[in-house]
């Protein structure tokens, strides 16, 4: 009996309701996915245009550009991380 009780108490303590978490995650995800269907390549387009603007002033290595996304319930963030080679700013300064 004690074994059984031990077992059920262990179960109870680990049983926090996870379904509400699943529900919220799905709501956020599906809201984004449904909105995406019309314009699937928005991120790609944003990245290309941002890179085009930056490369007008600096020579950059496309491999050193990292785009990160975090989709939230109310706002999402787009993080563009561009690695600039040292000296690039000086080399291009006179042209500007």
């Amino acid at each position: 009996m004690s074994m059984l009780r031990l077992f059920s108490s262990r179960q109870a303590s680990s049983r926090q309701a996870t379904a509400p978490i699943a529900r919220e995650r799905l709501q956020i995800l599906l809201a984004h996915e449904r909105g995406m269907l019309g314009q699937p390549d928005l991120l790609l387009q944003l990245r290309e245009e941002i890179l085009a603007v930056v490369s007008r002033h600096v020579v950059l290595d496309p491999d050193k550009v990292i785009v990160r996304m975090d989709r939230g319930k109310h706002v999402s963030t787009l993080e563009v991380d561009i690695e600039l080679p040292n000296g690039a700013d000086r080399a291009f300064a006179p042209a500007g």
Binding site: F7, S14, T18, A19, I21, A22, R25, I28, L29, E33, M36, L37, P40, L43, L44, P62, D63, V65, I66, V67, R68, M69, D70, R71, G72, S76
Partner: protein
Amino acid sequence: MAKVLVVTSGKGGVGKTTTTAAVGAALAQAGQKVVVVDFDVGLRNLDLVLGAERRVVFDLINVVQGVAKLPQALIRDKRLENLWLLPASQTKDKDALTEEGVGRVIAELRKMFDYVLCDSPAGIERGAMLAMRFADEAIIVTNPEVSSVRDSDRIIGMLDSKTVRAENGERVEKHILITRYDPARAARGEMLSIDDVLEILATPLLGIVPESQDVLRASNVGCPVTLNNPASTPARAYSDAMRRLLGEQLEMLVPAEPKGLIRLLLGRRAA
């Protein structure tokens, strides 16, 4: 030397994605550098099971088509620094995957990681073929149930004939992983026994994962079960399976009680 492992089954809903996430996380915890690759184009879910769904920017098809570089598409797990995800595309057509392109991506991943785990889509179409095409080893996820065993047999036939290794006269090392095993039903004789499954498929056993609420809870919160509740019976079964993949000889534990708490030792050797 990097290993490419395909997690496959033929049948849907048997636990391929759960297994990919759980074994991938367990390997990463054991110090291996791991990437899990979702091949289910149009119906990706590995990102969701890993809790990375909000962070997907680029995907496998973007990389195959050369639109994005591989490092830009890889998503690092927030809990395990050794674990990375290459997501599938949700919007593109699966025909966008080419054998040449997938081969190039896998070759590049081999240079960067110790383990490349390919999560196959269900079925035997293009996506499933490409997921297994470059594999060195295969985990065939099987439920102890007639249709699943039949589909596993079909997949084993494909692994022995349609992979690059098979075409070069080499073997793809195959492992059966039994999932959703229900000890109570097995005890009542309502479910195919493990011996039945292994005898029919004639392939070594990697592990037995019991049907468990812990698996559902883990996917609800977006965390591999091996991380979310390491003490749970499915997590321990996955963890043992991972250690067997790394070459350890462990006794095979068969979940015995309805709750899966008490497990009996069975004298069967692992692969």
